[in-house]
């Protein structure tokens, strides 16, 4: 069985972002970001292409250094202990040049949370139990994304960051991933995801952060956002109009 054996019971959310700005080549990509991710919530970051959604996710994960502003994790600064309690699923999954099981074993060797039964149990959960010995990079797009999620689940994260986890996936993979997201959240994992799929955001998210041109225009509960968006940009985005 998959044993819950979390390393530490210290919670890392709520995550508070204060006056965060990220610039690249003297151009601001994220500007003056202020928001809060609630503990055990599912927050969907919405916005058009190039709005800065993925960058915000990567910054929360600690992949992009914060030079201006501040991110705190339950009032703590980002350190290795906090980073070890996060897991990120990238939009284009990076898989090691090994078998499916080899990929899982590598993550397991870093975390030492689970044993070999757990690995196979998680692979079964994502529907990859028959592919243990298959080279990971020969999997289809949906299977790769599921393996990437399985690796993330192996860490037993308290914060799960998902960058468009179901983009271009078939309905089976989509349903499976969404069910796993809900299951993880029900166990107390805080989840932040970016998506372009409005119906997915409605199905999963409790909170919405709407971002455009590197600025947060709205942060509210999902039901309020979809019913009564406050900004013209959000209204346009929801009706499928191009945002300029």
């Amino acid at each position: 069985m998959f044993k819950k054996n979390r390393k530490s019971e210290v919670t890392i959310s709520p995550i508070k972002i204060k006056d965060l700005s990220i610039s690249l080549n003297d151009r601001f990509i994220l500007r003056n970001i202020n928001c809060q991710i609630n503990d055990k919530s599912i927050t969907a970051i919405l916005g058009p292409n190039g709005a800065g959604k993925s960058l915000l996710l990567q910054t929360i994960n600690g992949l992009i250094p914060v030079l201006k502003g501040k991110i705190t994790y339950n009032s703590n600064q980002l350190d290795n202990d906090i980073r070890k309690q996060q897991a990120m699923v990238f939009q284009s999954p990076t898989l090691l040049r090994r078998t499916v099981l080899g990929n899982m074993e590598f993550v397991n060797s870093i975390n030492k949370n689970s044993n070999i039964i757990d690995l196979k149990y998680i692979l079964k959960k994502v529907g990859l139990e028959a592919y243990n010995d298959k080279p990971a990079r020969l999997l289809s797009g949906g299977e790769k994304q599921r393996l990437s999620l399985a690796r993330a689940l192996l860490i037993q994260p308290k914060l799960l960051l998902l960058d468009e986890p179901t983009a271009n996936l078939d309905p089976y993979s989509l349903k499976l991933i969404e069910d796993l997201i809900l299951e993880e959240n029900s166990k107390g994992t805080t989840i932040i995801l970016t998506t372009h799929d409005m119906s997915q955001a409605k199905r999963l998210a409790s909170d919405i952060i709407f971002i455009n041109k590197g600025e947060i225009l709205e942060q509210t509960q999902a039901k309020i956002f979809f019913k009564e968006p406050q900004t013209i940009e959000a209204k346009k985005y929801l009706t499928g109009e191009i945002l300029l």
Binding site: N80, M88, F90, R97, R98, I110, P135, R137, L138
Partner: protein, 235 residues
């Protein structure tokens, strides 16, 4: 054309008759090449990995230097090693001139730049691919390095093959520091040079064919391995 046919016949005869001298030369060639390859890898692989994953001032220049050194003229290396280890040289007291050890040292100087440059390229490719994943997973450096080397293993095998090719076919440096002494430092390439100078062209060619066959077999095995790895998308 006749000389070629004769050479082929002679090479087969030498192998089939299990010529003792030939096998002695062959074994020494392999021993010198493999030992120099082993030590070059022990030095070159960590150095190549370091250059692949660390970003520091002057890194690119170091890589340019190693790339340039890949084309080092063997006779120049032979001459420099000779000057260093000859009796009047700074390491003359070691007394290794005209020994297989001197040949190994000369070959290492020729192979290390190849191992460093090509392994840096192979590992950098994997490093760029895994960088953000490893950062996100907070993978400790020593585990990341192990993973880079393991996942670039097929490319590294090709790097080693390039090093081995350079070593086994080398003649200029080993003839200067080894002296081509019979039963002591005579290897395939120096034998070919000697037989050619004696006018024994068919024997020289026969030795060349045997040398080529060894290189071909090693290449064939490794290429098969790489094709298999490519099918599994491990490269």
């Amino acid at each position: 054309m006749n000389i070629l046919l004769e050479a082929f016949k002679q090479s087969f005869d030498l192998v089939l008759m299990l010529d003792r001298d030939l096998f002695e030369i062959l074994l020494l060639s392999l021993k010198v090449s493999l030992v120099s390859l082993l030590f070059s890898c022990l030095i070159g692989l960590p150095l190549g990995t370091f250059l692949a994953i660390k970003n520091f001032w002057f890194r690119d220049n170091i890589l340019i230097i190693f790339n340039t050194l890949m084309g080092l003229p063997p006779v120049v290396v032979g001459l420099i090693v000779y000057l260093i280890i000859s009796r009047s040289g700074p390491l003359g007291w070691l007394g290794i001139l005209y020994t297989p050890t001197a040949m190994i040292i000369a070959q290492m100087i020729l192979i290390i730049p190849i191992i460093v440059s090509l392994s840096a390229q192979a590992i950098e490719e994997v490093h760029q691919e895994y960088k953000y994943l490893f950062l996100s997973l907070v993978v400790p450096s020593h585990k990341a390095i192990k993973a880079y080397i393991f996942d670039a293993r097929y490319s590294i095998l090709t790097v080693m093959l390039a090093g081995f090719g350079r070593a086994i076919s080398e003649v200029g440096a080993v003839i200067i520091v080894g002296g081509n002494i019979d039963h002591l430092t005579r290897v395939m390439t120096t034998s070919i040079a000697l037989e050619t100078s004696k006018g024994n062209l068919s024997l020289a060619l026969a030795l060349g064919i045997i040398l080529l066959s060894i290189a071909l077999s090693v290449n064939f095995l490794l290429i098969r391995l790489k094709i298999r790895a490519k099918r599994r998308m491990y490269v």
